[in-house]
């Protein structure tokens, strides 16, 4: 028998928030589909070790994601990953999503859990030299730069901490930051400042990446003088923060100035029947535990929404 493309609930995103929503919804006997653009696990798989998820002393993000996925599947949840979303309609009572390949799905309720991603600079040469000198992961690629001179772009905790960790390999690390001060914890700033291999270029940004086979130099723009100059380097690590993956719904639901989805205490959004959870919502602390917590609330509220909607319909049918 051909399966219907209508579900009780659709969850968009399969990071810890989406997988938790999937577990709760399908365990509550709601037919649930999770649609995910990237790898199941989301940002969790970026984490080599998670040591602060209660009940599990230490686990890799990949393993935790694999367990959460297995749990969701065991309750009957369906997961489609590595898809792209072409069109999403949230305003009607029935929510619908059309994938890049043209397949459409609909549902009575929808939970948005698209999380966030690393910000890229978006300047000339960045894509061309990705994997050829431009990197976003110190633990992955640091050893390619043994005894080489590299730059780290950014001024937050990750930039400073990763710059220090890269001194294990590189002979010199130059941190390029757009402001005259860092937005990081004091201890991270001190550790970087005290490291003899680290130098700083402040109030400056990288405007382009150059080279032939691999990266050979960056164009540095001094933001005070407006002057751009060429700076020789073997590698560039970019750590300039995270942005929520909400562009695909930004004109449909209420978001704040950073594009984060605004939710009420029950994780409902500005649209009836649409809930949101995890890193993509407006909140202060972004962790696996908080994503899992929000998603539990969102899934239970969505379940309640469906039951109330159906009870109302049944009531109307009997009067």
């Amino acid at each position: 028998m051909e399966k219907s493309n209508h579900y009780d609930a659709i969850v968009v995103g399969a990071g810890p928030a989406g997988l938790t929503a999937g577990i709760y919804l399908s365990r509550g006997r709601l037919r649930t589909l999770i649609l995910n653009e990237g790898t199941v696990g989301g940002q969790m798989v970026l984490t080599h070790e998670i040591a602060n998820y209660p009940g599990v002393e230490s686990i890799s993000g990949y393993q935790l994601a694999t367990i959460m996925k297995k749990q969701a599947l065991s309750f009957g949840c369906e997961i489609k990953s590595n898809i792209t979303i072409g069109k999403i309609d949230l305003s009607d009572e029935i929510k619908s999503v059309t994938l890049g390949d043209g397949t459409s799905y609909s549902a009575d309720t929808l939970i948005l859990t698209p999380g966030g991603r690393s910000r890229t600079l978006g300047v000339a040469g960045e894509n061309k030299f990705k994997g050829r000198g431009v990197s976003y992961c110190a633990t992955c690629d640091g050893d390619f730069f043994t005894d080489k001179e590299i730059v780290v772009i950014g001024g937050g905790n990750s930039a400073l901490e990763e710059a220090v960790s890269l001194t294990k390999y590189a002979s010199k690390v130059t941190i390029i930051h757009q402001f005259d001060h860092f937005q990081a914890f004091d201890h991270a700033i001190k550790e970087a400042q005290m490291n003899p291999k680290i130098e700083f270029i402040m109030e400056s940004t990288v405007a382009g990446f150059n080279g032939n086979e691999s990266l050979e130099s960056v164009d540095i723009r001094n933001l005070k003088t407006g002057k751009t100059y060429n700076y020789r380097t073997d590698g560039a690590f970019v750590f300039i923060g995270y942005i929520p993956n909400t562009e695909f719904v930004a004109d449909k639901i209420e978001t704040n100035q950073w594009g984060e989805i605004i939710v009420k205490a029950d994780m409902s959004t500005s649209l009836g029947g649409v809930f949101a959870a995890g890193d993509s919502i407006a909140k202060r602390y972004r962790q696996v535990t908080t994503a899992v917590g929000d998603a539990t609330v969102a899934a239970l509220a969505a379940t309640n929404y469906i039951h109330e909607k159906r009870a109302k319909k049944e009531h109307l049918a009997t009067v």
Partner: protein
């Protein structure tokens, strides 16, 4: 140790046997990190769709992976995984660092001809 669902290549001898005995082979040489895991995931998903391609992974830190790390095609690569596409034992394409499913499919479609079930 790579804990993926792909078949693993452990030795240089295995590698040479695999690429000589199979027409179309994709080998992802990486670690269990954020740039590599998505590529393994994509390969796992494409295995059934691309029945005429054999998908493997190989641990970057296994010394035997010199068969990949010393290829002329990976000169200038400074981001894992190194993903190598072989046709009849010859390298036809190599990529460095994370790739999207569309990028991988575009290579499989152009280098390894039509899908068997197409």
């Amino acid at each position: 140790m790579l804990y993926t669902n792909l078949n693993h290549i452990e030795t240089a001898a295995d590698h040479s046997k695999i690429i000589s005995e199979n027409e179309n082979v994709m080998v992802i040489c990486g670690r269990m990190g954020p740039m590599c895991i998505p590529v393994y995931g994509i390969a796992e998903e494409l295995e059934s769709e691309y029945g005429h391609v054999k998908f493997f992974d190989m641990e970057f830190d296994n010394p035997e992976s010199h068969v990949i790390r010393s290829l002329p095609e990976v000169r200038g690569f400074m981001g894992i995984p190194f993903t190598i596409y072989y046709k009849n034992g010859k390298v036809v394409k190599a990529t460095s660092s994370i790739q999207t499913k569309e990028q991988v499919k575009a290579i499989l479609d152009s280098e390894f001809a039509a899908k068997v079930n197409a």
